[in-house]
């Protein structure tokens, strides 16, 4: 998504050609006038062609933005499905308000921080294009992005990305975080931290200059969300009853697997816009390749994760198959435009295997992530970003040089470090000022009653007589 190659220059020669006619024909006076007309005519043709291309390119960016928007519904349903029914109103409220906050803050300061243009304060590290959004004269014209999209489409597409990092966090901290403190924690992440790290690469900052590559945001979007989630989860601690004193891990099943499945299909659907739109034009070859690599990686991730879970955990675990699809998607995101179908399948498949072990590993170290967000977006985000240094044109295999791999590593670590520092700071500050976690009684009764005084499913008899060993307390 970095930079933006020239999209088109049709009919340019047309003008030159006619211009030459003019030159050569200078001899005759009538000729001069005739050719003047011809030049004008040629210019109009050029303009018409560019305008058509501009309209198509811009249409795709707008549609891609809409597809990214629907990912927020995907996250909301996935996270709802993988948590308990007593915390459903809470997670829906969080994810709904986050999207609103994300869009508004991005309009206010995020877009400006992320795309400072030449407004770099600290060169390549921190920039500022001005408060709010406004298209200016050229922002609505073909001139803004060389015929790719308008200023408004640019903002629309980027704004839809912005809240993604936040919705990722929402799932990881679910079922125990207080509502207001959560919003207080997540707002600076979305409004400041995400756009700043984003500017390093997509804003043309130091990572972009160095040669780091992250096509659609395995690191810039997904890991950022995961690292913020990690910090919050560490400060927050695990859900009651998740890790028994005797060291056993008590699974806490989500309350609606159909909801979770809806979420993953919607996320896959939205990802077509997330990755496909990151081509930043409707370039036929470019976008269609990205859609293919994205789909193949998702499919491979889903199958491999299901298989791995079947071998390791001894059951055909739907939630792992679903996480695997997301793992494949996150993994291909950094290099979706560089990979061959075979590369894409490999990257997705490895991502699918990784996510299963990552989920188990985090439980081992008692990092309680109800939806597996840190595994999917963090671990697979790292893998996908590294994969750009291994597979594809710029990868170790093709080039034989580890240079790109090095760049990728620098990008991963710098963004991880920055995000973790900011997120821990926010989490600790919020905890000190407002408190971070609901009390045990509320957690047991559910956050829907505690934080919202509502029930998500008042018509259905809730089950209190749960399994014996895995105690819910």
């Amino acid at each position: 998504m970095v930079g933006c190659k020239t999209i088109l220059r049709p009919g340019l020669g047309l003008v030159m050609g006619v211009a030459l006619l003019v030159l050569l024909a200078g001899v005759s006076p009538t000729w001069a006038q005739e050719t003047a007309e011809a030049v004008e005519a040629a210019e109009e043709a050029e303009a018409g062609i560019s305008d058509a291309m501009f309209t198509v390119n811009n249409l795709w960016i707008m549609i891609a933005g809409m597809l990214v928007f629907i990912m927020h519904l995907g996250f909301a349903t996935l996270e709802t499905g993988l948590t308990r029914s007593k915390n459903t109103v809470n997670i829906l409220f969080k994810n709904t308000t986050i999207v609103c906050i994300g869009i508004l803050t991005y309009a206010l300061i995020g877009f400006s921080l992320m795309y400072p243009g030449d407004g770099w304060g600290i060169g390549g590290i921190l920039g500022w294009a001005g408060l709010g959004v406004s298209a200016g004269e050229e922002g609505q014209t073909i001139a803004y992005a060389d015929g790719a999209y308008t200023y408004w489409s640019d903002f629309f597409f980027q704004a839809m990305f912005a809240a993604t990092a936040a919705t990722i966090v929402s799932g990881a901290v679910a079922e125990r975080i207080k509502l207001m403190p959560f919003l207080a924690f997540i707002t600076p992440i979305v409004a400041l931290s995400y756009p700043i790290t984003g500017s390093w690469q997509w804003g043309g900052g130091w990572l972009a200059e160095m040669g780091f590559y992250d096509f659609a945001g395995s690191t810039l979007v997904h890991s950022v969300g995961a690292w913020a989630a990690l910090a919050a989860v560490v400060v927050l601690g695990p859900r009651l009853g998740k890790y028994a004193k005797d060291g056993t891990v008590n699974p806490i099943p989500g309350h609606s697997l159909p909801m979770a499945a809806i979420g993953v299909f919607l996320l896959w659907f939205g990802w077509f816009g997330f990755n496909g739109g990151s081509v930043l034009s409707a370039d036929a070859a470019g976008v269609s390749l990205v859609l293919v690599t994205t789909s193949l990686a998702a499919a491979a991730g889903g199958l491999v994760a299901a298989g791995t879970a079947y071998v390791v955990n001894k059951n055909a675990d739907l939630t792992m198959a679903l996480n695997g699809i997301l793992a494949g998607l996150v993994s291909i995101t950094a290099g979706a435009d560089l990979m061959s179908p075979v590369d894409a399948i490999l990257i997705g498949a490895i991502g699918g295997a990784i996510v299963v072990f990552a989920v188990l590993a985090f439980d081992k170290v008692r990092i309680d992530d109800p939806v597996g967000a840190i595994s999917v977006h963090g671990v697979c985000g790292v893998w996908g970003t590294l994969a750009v240094g291994i597979f594809g044109a710029q990868g170790l295999i093709a080039t034989g040089s580890p240079a790109q791999l090095g760049f990728q590593l620098v990008g991963i670590l710098s963004i991880m470090a920055f995000t973790l520092v900011v997120a821990f700071a926010c989490a600790i500050a919020v905890k000190a000022l407002l408190g971070f976690r609901v009390d045990a009684a509320e957690e047991t009764e559910g956050l829907d009653l505690g934080e919202h005084e509502m029930s998500a499913y008042p018509d259905f008899q809730r089950v209190y007589i749960k399994s014996y060993h895995a105690r819910e307390i």
Binding site: V249, N250, P251, I252, P253, A309, V312, N313, K314, N315, D317, T319, M320, V356, V359, L360, D363, G372, I465, S467, Y468, H469, A470
Partner: protein
């Protein structure tokens, strides 16, 4: 008058009701319940975790009968609910001090 409280397998409910009906016992009340006993529950797995779900879904059927109908009702239930496999359930008999039909206020045997 006695109250028969039978904890049976859900799949046995229809047969038990049919059998009771054949004896002219048409009224009863059923509740969803969960049983713990010799019959082991099942195992569930979730994201690598393992839960031994101790209980087994059962149906609790409550049938109030006149004392003279008690034995045949009990036999009917035992007979129709038995599969012979563990978990067929249990049957408990309580004595009732009073029975009333709310609609009419009739009491005791008249209410059954």
């Amino acid at each position: 008058m006695h109250m028969i409280e039978a904890v049976i397998k859900p799949s046995a409910l229809d047969d038990v009701k049919a059998k009771l009906a054949s004896l002219g016992i048409l009224g009863c009340t059923a509740l969803e319940c969960k049983g713990f006993g010799k019959q082991k529950g099942h195992t569930e797995r979730y994201r690598g975790g393992r839960m031994d779900v101790g209980f087994v879904p059962k149906v609790m059927l409550k049938v109030a009968v006149k004392s003279e109908d008690l034995d045949k009702a009990v036999d009917a239930i035992i007979e129709s609910a038995r599969t012979g496999s563990v978990g067929d359930g249990k049957l408990f008999v309580y004595e009732l001090g009073k029975v009333a039909r709310i609609r009419t206020g009739e009491t005791d045997n008249d209410a059954l």
